[in-house]
Each structure stands twice: as C-alpha cells, then as structure tokens.
Symmetry: C2
Subunit: 281 residues, 2 copies
C-alpha cells in the first residue's frame, strides 16, 4: 500500500500520537510505503478563504491537470463563489501551495487514513479544514461520466483508493453501538464515510475506534495498538463498507432510493447493500 | 428572544449573508434582541491548541463560575490533555479572551443560531473550531446532577436554550429526504443537532435548509427569505425535535436504548420519541 496518514491531534505525547507511531511502524515492517501529514505540526491553515484561490494570482499559471487558460485576474471586488473559485484555481494553477501539496500526496496514495480524536462527534477543525481546502471541485468531485451524469458515490476523482478513519472517544463502546445513545458510530461518522470518502469515489472501511480513551490503562493501550497493527495488516484484503453506488441503479432520477429497495426503510442504513463484514474485537 | 447568531461564510455578498440580514431585520422588527458572531469577519481562530488554555497564564485568575484555586503554572513541557485542560482554564480564568467572550454571549442568549453553508456534510472548519474551542468541559457539558449522573442530552450547561441550524446546500431537496442519497438532512446533521445542541441541554429545532443554493433564482431567494422570516416569527412557539432524554428512563446503564423501546429498531431515528411536527414548505 501507499498510505497517506493525516493526523490531527495537538499533543505529540497523546495516546493517538503513540498509536500512529505503532501504525507507521507496522506499515514499514510489512513493506508498505507511507507519508504523514501531521496537521498541527505543519501549522496547517484550517480556514478556507479567498487567499486560498487568489494568493497565487495566475499569470500564465502553474501547469494544472487541464489545459485551461489562465484565470482572469480577480481583485478583492470580485464575489467569492467558493466551489467555482476553488475549481478555477485548481485547473488554472491559482491554488495556495499547501493545498496543491496535499493533493499531490493524495494522488500518490492508494490508501487514506484520517486519524483524530472525535470532538463534537466529528473531526477537529484543523482536519475539517483539510477537507474543505484540499478536496476541491474538479479534483475530488464535480467530474462527469460519458453519460453526462455526475461521478459520485463510488466514482469520482479519488476512486481506486481505500479510506479508513482511526479515532478515539471518551465513551464506552456500547454507547456508540446500534442502539447506543450517541448514535451508531458508522452513522455518526456518515459525513466522513459516506459524504466524503464514498462521495469522492474512495472505498470507506469500518472505522477503527478507541473507546474509553480517557480512562485507558497501559494494558488497554497495548491491546488497541495490537489491534491497530492487525487491522492495518489485513487492510489490503478487507472488504469496504457496502454503500450503494449512485449510478448502479439503486437510485432514481430524484436521487432517492428506488421504491422497491427496502420499501419500509428510512435512515442511513438503507444506503448499505447488506450488513458489512466487520472485524470484531 | 435573545438570539446569538453565529455566521460562518467567507463572502459578505453571499446568499447566506443576505439571508442573515433578512433574519436579523425580522428579529429586530419583532422586538427580539440579537447579537452576531460573524466568524470570518472576526478573524476567528479555528484551531484549538495549547495557546487557548495557556496564553493567559493565571496568577490569581479572573473570577470564574467556580471558586477553584488558580491553576498551577503549566509550561510547554506539560502534556496537553485537551478536555481537562479546557475545563481547568475555564474554571480558573486561564482561557483566551476570544473564548470567554463567546461563552458570555452564549450565557446571555436564549436562542442559538448556527448559520453556514454545508461543506462536506458539516459546518465549515471555522465554525467547527468555534464548537471545539467555546463549548468546553465544565461550561457546556461535564456537569453532574444530584444523583451523580452526567447532565447530558436534554440537560447540561446550556439547558433552557433553543438552537437552530440555518444552512444551504447545492443539492435538491429530495436528495436530502428520508430516502435521499445524501442521507436525511436531520441524520446528516446528527453531530450538531443531537451531539452538540441536545448533548449540552439545548433544544434542537428542525433545521432551516436552502436547497439548490447554487442555482437559486431571484424569486427563489425571495421565497427562502420569506420562509426564514416566518420560521423566526414562529420559533418561540415551535416544538423542538423530540429527542429522548438521557435520564428520562429510555436508556439503561450501558447507555443503550431499553430493550422495550423500538425493539426492532436501529438507526438514528430510534432516538426520537415520535415523528417531529415539522413546518413544511
């Protein structure tokens, strides 16, 4: 594998940092390549703003993946339409360097790992900002097939890659189970697993979750480290989550599930084809 | 109402900025008070880091809500345990001023509005960072009742307030419906509605969503502006989403739903008591 490991924790002596070192050591030992974006250590800029798409005002432009002409100069008087401005900057070489650099890493990788403590049931702002700024229209999504339909959910700019969330929560495992008060972890992480990974064509895998992270003993930590190593060893052969493809026939013109599929179902699980084969602890 | 309106869009000439002005005008016209945190305009710091809890090293400390003694000096050599460090800084007057200021606004308000374009099925990083940095342990959560149980999900530091998401998406409404490919909007927004609002004791209301935002006509815009005004006018009388309370008897010791509640159900909707009375367009 060629693994891009995105790490978002402010403390290098944290449980999560230690787990990442274990994971990277396992990958190296198994002959896999890896690159790390340690967002806090890099001082990653979290906030998407006009400077992302204007800072490097194109004059002839860097070579982009498309032969589009350089963008017209855009002064501060021009209204920022975020998605379109990002796409224009991507295609015409007007992006900030830090964004292009992360995109290059993604193109290199066949496996993306997002590793973070779960804050407010989602990624820390610095990681959310990595998604907001790096996964731009024209690069990760917004592409169309020969039939003119959008390439999304199973297809897209990042197709052919697998993606894994590694996260830690303070709560116990039962509270993130299918009937747990916090919501089932797969559904809590829906915006990442389905809305980001699958949306851009990546194959989302069952998240690796450290429960009870605030109260973890040394032995508990060793157990999770061993389990993470095992997960990574098996990852190349592991089945991803069985989300439905947008163009596979399960959705109609209104982008709703066809009436004959799970006719009485609502809720996020109707978008899975069958219960996933999940490695259990 | 006393409304705190948190706005997170980089462009002051956006559809969303225009909608906010409509909303604020409606509130003023109806005799409500409002305060605005326009995060981009404020240059809000999105990334939670050690400087949030160490910058104002306490020496005697500001008066906190608790009479805890000033924190021990904590140099850069001390390991950052995020939640505990935030709580200590909150209780002992060691928070950054920008954080305390937002907390004061929240304490003033009886209504919180989070207003943002939906990026990767969640709030932009700058708004995620507002949640990460402002809603700290000891202030918004981490409190206990007289029975020793955590005050969460219907109770908590922000109880007694209502909370509303106002957001915009490019997609059409059907694709965010109960069987839409993007997931039902209430479940997509679960981390905010249930995991943040309800978790801290606030009453979450049905989100106000602008669909097809990229293709909106002038007439469509006027329709949404009118609907937002109507929503705000009716908000004081509106029923919130009927999520279950943690201490109301529906959850057992393992923080899972009692077996007699929706016995065949899984998925996020089992955490609602009955279908919400939703204002329909």
């Amino acid at each position: 594998m060629k693994v891009l490991w995105i790490f978002a924790h402010p403390e290098q002596r944290s449980l999560n940092a230690s787990l990442m070192r274990e994971g990277l050591s396992e990958l190296a030992g198994s002959g896999h390549e890896s690159r790390v974006s340690d967002l806090y250590a890099m001082g990653w800029k979290a906030v998407l703003d006009a400077s992302d798409v204007r800072a490097h005002a194109p004059s002839g432009g860097r070579a982009g993946p498309s032969a589009a002409p350089p963008a017209a100069p855009s002064g501060p008087g021009r209204r920022l339409a975020v998605g379109a401005a990002q796409e224009r900057a991507y295609l015409r070489g007007g992006q900030s360097e830090d964004i292009s650099s992360e995109q290059q890493k993604l193109l290199w990788a066949d496996t993306l790992i997002l590793h973070f403590p779960l804050w407010w049931f989602g990624p820390p702002a610095i990681l959310k900002g990595w998604l907001d700024r790096v996964l731009v229209q024209g690069f990760a999504f917004g592409l169309r097939g020969s039939d003119g339909r959008a390439l999304r959910y199973g297809e897209g700019g990042l197709a052919g890659r697998r993606a894994l969330v590694v996260t830690s929560v303070g709560a116990r495992e039962s509270s993130f189970g299918p009937r747990g008060i916090h919501g089932h972890i797969r559904q809590v992480l829906w915006p990442l697993l389905h809305g980001t990974f699958w949306y851009t064509g990546m194959a989302p895998h069952e998240p690796f979750v450290v429960y009870g992270a605030d109260r973890l003993t040394e032995a508990g930590h060793r157990t999770y480290a061993r389990e993470l190593r095992e997960r990574l060893r098996g990852l190349p052969e592991e089945e991803p989550l069985p989300y439905r493809s947008e163009r596979g026939g399960d959705y109609g013109e209104e982008l709703t599930l066809q009436p004959w599929i799970a006719p009485d179902g609502a809720g996020l699980d109707v978008h899975e084809m069958f219960p996933a084969a999940v490695p259990r602890r």
